[in-house]
Amino acid sequence: MKKTIIAAALALLFGAHSASAFGIFDNLNYQARLGYNIGGTMPMGMPASIRGLDSYKPRPSFTLALDAYKPLTEKWGMMAGFHFQTKAMETDARVKSYSMEMRQGGESLSGLFTGNVVTKTSQLVVTLPLQATFNVSDAVRLKFGPYFSYALNNDFSGYAYDGYLREGDPTGQKVELGHNEGERGDYDFSSDMRHWHFAFDFGADWYFSHRFGAYADVQWGMSGVFRKEFKTIEQTMYPVYATLGVMYKLK
């Protein structure tokens, strides 16, 4: 049963045609992985409107993965799989004249905010990686390749507090936001997030026994987390996460 699922998945990934050409189902081995993810959703290069980071909290994020490895030569091989991942974090940033929009029901209040902004992001994604691998030694394997992810669940929300909003532009009405719930400005951009993501993944596997190993990966998002039409956050926000975990060779 398990094998059928994996085979079906790989067939989907590579296409039936190339699969038969490669004879790809021969000589496969499988690894199950359990990892802890840490990282953030952030702009590449901070805009000047972000003045500092008062706190960064990784929120519990895990990877559960199944990979299939196929050696092509003695050193080179390929790896593909199914990864279920949560990617979550919380930040509290100091901002100056930072583009903001608070929405509630059909109403919105937008402008430039100076003060503190708490951002909570989380995504539940299914990732289909395809990686080239290189065996440095019997125990260590390097991996690099692209992947597509589909987000089953998106959250990008938070609140602006202890500061003021200039409605529209810097000459607009000034609206102060306080510290406590009810005085601050809540926002939720979850529905503006895209579902499909393209990214690169690079990392290394290290077997410390015949079956058990540890691994480390970096997943570097190439597509922003928001849809193109979404303009409130001016800079593109990329998810960049690292995973540290353990793996077990099934076959």
Binding site: Y36, I38, G39, G40, M42, G45, M46, P47, A48, S49, I50, R51, G52, L53, Y56, P58, K96, S97, M102, Q104, G105, G106, E107, S108, L109, L112, Y164, R166, E167, D169, P170, T171, G172, Q173, K174, V175, E176, L177, G178, G182, E183, G185, D186, A242, L244, G245, V246
Partner: protein
């Protein structure tokens, strides 16, 4: 075994982030936040020292109107000093002597980054000497408020404002606060709107409105329609709403006469369901309106300009007199006249009065507990032809 690794990763990650913060960009705001007239002989020029400065200027206000100077003061070469948002520049220069005798002087404030600018008008004039020389001391004179002069707010055209003066506004409403919560509302969907067919010409219609989903978040679910002489400072509207209503604030509301009677015409219809602050229906309670005028000392013990706010408009020790319509409940058969005398808690000090050391706030609201965000949506108070009878 994961833990120590993630700790290292956090530190590494945070360090990476911190290292790439850019230098702070130049400021893009261009507000005058304070203005001050500097003269060598302030006692001869100003009725009160606090009249020399305008503090805490609201973010949307661009007409800065100083209280009138003493009669015959020279306004042809007055230096006005400005405090702006950081980095902004003023032209003509802050502190340069300007001639205010021919009307307002225009100042352009440009933001530090040069991207934004705003044009301010500063009004300074000397009071005309002997305004009513023939008026006998004991005879009543009247100030009339007819509410014919209204227009959309100049900055956004979202809501109506009222003024009895050509420049600036002596009346304020909570409409700017409502615009924060209900940005999509049309001007006639605001709590305070003009009513074309009033008792005589246009009247004002005050209606308690639902503030929508934003109002729920900040637990300010209703906005009572209100109209008062003073200033509404919307920057406090969400954070400290009681501080947003500056009753009797502004140079137009200083008085040098003794108010005797507040009178006018009104109609009142309470809304169907009275709710408390948490939107819980209060069975059996019927909403009421409120109509009153307060006279208060407009300088505090430290010599600073003083105005009443939502938390103390009826209780401040600065208050010297109050005229309040006792029971604003449902009216039948059209307009109803009201007339109430000012009840003086303390007698006015003649010397202070002569120097315009008192101000008056005239206040109307469609829900008496509106400041506490309690009332019935739909409660409507119509107001027209208000007058203040006074003696010199």
């Amino acid at each position: 075994m994961v833990k120590p690794f993630s700790l290292i990763a956090i530190v590494a990650f945070a360090t990476t982030l911190t290292s790439c913060f850019k230098d702070e960009a130049p400021n893009n705001e261009c507000d005058i936040v304070e203005a001050r007239i500097q003269v060598e002989n302030p006692d001869e020029v100003f009725f009160q020292q606090s009249n020399a400065e305008l503090l805490g200027i609201e973010s949307t206000k661009t007409d800065l109107i100083f209280p009138d100077l003493r009669p015959n003061s020279d306004v042809t070469a007055l230096p006005v000093y400005f405090k702006t948002t950081p980095g902004a520049t003023v032209s003509p220069e802050s502190g340069s002597a300007q001639n205010f005798a021919n009307g307002p002087v225009t100042y352009v404030v440009t933001s530090e980054d040069g991207q934004y600018s705003r044009t301010y008008r500063v009004f300074i004039k000397a009071e005309e000497a002997n305004q009513n020389p023939d008026q006998p001391e004991d005879q009543l004179a009247y100030i009339h408020y007819n509410f014919e002069n209204y227009s959309l707010d100049p900055a956004t055209s979202k809501f109506y404002m009222w003024s009895d003066y050509e420049n600036g506004y002596n009346w304020a409403t909570g409409n700017p606060g409502f615009s924060i919560a209900r940005g999509s509302a049309k001007p006639d969907q605001y709590p305070t709107t003009p009513l074309a067919e009033g008792y005589d010409g246009a009247a004002v219609k005050l209606e308690t409105c639902d503030t929508g989903p934003f109002g729920v978040i900040v637990n300010m679910r209703i906005a009572a329609g209100n109209l008062f002489t003073g200033v509404f400072d919307s920057k406090s509207a969400t954070k400290e709403p009681l501080m947003a209503t500056h009753f009797g604030d502004g140079s137009y509301n200083q008085i040098n006469y003794r108010p005797v009677t507040l009178s006018g015409y009104y109609q009142y219809t309470p809304g169907a369901t009275f709710k408390d602050k948490n939107a819980k229906v209060v069975e059996g309670r019927i909403d009421r309106g409120d109509i009153y005028a307060v006279v208060f000392r407009n300088v505090d013990s430290e010599g600073k300009a003083f105005y009443l706010t939502g938390d103390n408009v009826l209780t401040s020790p600065q208050i010297v007199a109050l005229a309040r319509v006792p029971n604003v409940v449902k009216t039948e058969g059209g307009w109803k006249k009201f007339a109430v005398d000012f009840n003086y808690i303390r007698e006015l000090d003649a010397a202070i009065l002569a120097n315009k050391g008192y101000s008056m706030a005239v206040v109307f609201t469609s829900s008496i507990e509106g400041a506490a965000f309690e009332g019935a949506v739909g409660s409507t108070l119509l107001i027209d032809k208000v007058s203040i009878a006074y003696k010199k």
